[in-house]
Amino acid sequence: MSEIRFEGVERRFHRPGGNFLALENICFEVAEREFVALVGPSGCGKTTLLRMAAGLDFPTGGRVLVGNREVRGPGPDRAVVFQQFALFPWKTIRQNIGFGLKCKGTPLTQRREIIEHYVTLMGLQGHGDAYPHQLSGGMQQRVAIARSYALEPDVLLMDEPFGALDAQTRVLMQEELVRLARDNPRTVLFITHSVDEAVYLADRVIVMTPRPGRISAIIDIGLVRRTERWIDCEHIEEVMAQKSFVHLRSRIWRLLRGLESSGETVGRAMETGVG
């Protein structure tokens, strides 16, 4: 029971010059063990949505439910990878990764094992006893990812988790995430600026528009992925070369540019857009 549901969510912020409507009428669901990616221009409210699922922010209208229960606060069943990492500067990399396990009361020997597993998985060998400020931005981001993976939560909320990584590491992390999702699927809400990343990783991609933040389209990728058997491809570049991938990607790009406003109005939007 770990599905995430947004029911008519609205979020207003108080600002000196009056109210600011950041999100309006957001309705969607991330089904149990589904991977949903959110894309949209900067400031359209992606982080705000994710924070509401995490229990760090609350809607001013509508409801946010996780596992059929209204979200009342943060908890270790929903791990968050923050856009700004939010590592503990006074803890070593190992202590950062192990913090959630320690809070959960995992015995020390077992905790050590799990920590070592994720240190290796994230390519952080030799840095386990360093402090976050001694690592590069990309390495810090991997620590943040490891810290949330280590808890093996039902729900993963990831806010541009690969944003600070170089191209090669980013691809490695994406492939790793696909492997994790295949071996042990979780409910994932994933924010990204990269359309390629969204199409490669997600079962569904939600495209948002700003001012106020609204959902403009929801695109199903899972069906295409299964029928075109992307899973048989070992590397991301093979998937990206598939016709079906290219097609989906350009469709999302058009949506982001505003040429296509939603599924049923495609024809009309295309006409006016081209004309």
Binding site: A54, G55, L56, G73, P74, G75, P76, R78, A79, V80, F82, Q84, A86, L87, F88, P89, W90, K91, F99, G100, K102, C103, K104, Y131, P132, H133, Q134, R147, S148, L151
Partner: protein, 268 residues
């Protein structure tokens, strides 16, 4: 660390000048003015002893007991009162400040009371400390406590408020309970501020200790000075003052090192 290994020659010359030459120049000039004033007879030796006489008295005090003890024992007595009062202030003030920063209820309940009490100077506690604790070891300790308590509370409180909210939120999403949030997140997050506060508090405590010993006490550096005064021995007063100043500077230096250590390890 690596950055400190290869300073350019220009930087090295600058720091050498700043670290040694200029301070030495300042001290030598001061001593010369001081010696000049007394040598020229501007002030009689009874009112202002020269540096030579003060130094001689200083050395003399280290092996000849004055007012019941040699200088080191007086210093030790002062330091013990300092440690006790200061330690108590840190152990109670810092947790209180953290609680005030973390829980609104505590803040609302305590802040107005605290805001008025903290403007009472430590010395104003002397009458009550004598009434409650007599004229022995403990009375000055209470005075030090009241001097050190305020900066401890204030800086811990401030530290929590300036702490990165994102880190606190991360801890909550990782399932940190109240205790873990306090000890593993808020305390370390506030530590740079707390240590800065501890340094201020140490200075306050040391000053208020001497003030208290001037009024009440049978040992300690403040007591030594007062005895010197009543025996009309100005050299004892000056030697005592120098010891107080140097010890205060040493305490502050140690606290400064601690502060730098924390800031460096916190990546600031």
């Amino acid at each position: 660390m690596a950055a400190l290994n290869g300073p350019t020659p220009a930087v090295r010359a600058g720091t050498l000048l700043e670290a040694w030459v200029l301070p030495a120049f300042g001290i030598v000039t001061f001593l010369m003015l001081w010696a000049g004033c007394t040598a020229a007879g501007l002030a009689p030796a009874r009112l202002l002893p020269g540096p030579g006489a003060a130094a001689a008295e200083f050395i003399d005090l280290t092996h000849t007991p004055y007012s019941g003890a040699v200088l080191q024992v007086h210093l030790l007595a002062s330091l013990m009162k300092f440690s006790l009062g200061y330690g108590l202030a840190v152990l109670t003030g810092v947790p209180l400040g953290l609680m005030m920063g973390r829980y609104r209820i505590v803040e609302w309940a305590i802040a107005p009371l605290y805001e008025s009490i903290r403007f009472i100077p430590p010395i104003a506690w002397v009458p009550f400390s004598i009434l409650w604790l007599g004229t022995g070891f403990l009375a000055p300790t209470l005075v030090i406590f009241s001097g050190a308590f305020s900066p401890c509370v204030l800086n811990a409180y401030r530290g929590v408020h300036t702490a990165d909210r994102a880190v606190l939120e991360a801890a909550q999403t990782l399932g940190a309970g109240r205790w873990a949030t306090m000890t593993e997140v808020l305390l370390p997050a506030a530590l740079p501020d707390i240590v800065a506060g501890l340094r201020v508090a140490a200075g306050f405590a040391w000053q208020s200790l001497i003030g208290a010993e001037l009024i009440v006490g049978s040992t300690g550096l403040g007591y030594l000075i007062i005895q010197g005064e009543s025996n009309l021995s100005s050299t004892v007063v000056v030697a005592g003052m120098i010891t107080i100043g140097l010890t205060g500077a040493a305490i502050d230096f140690a606290m400064l090192r601690a502060e730098r250590f924390v800031r460096r390890n916190w990546g600031q």
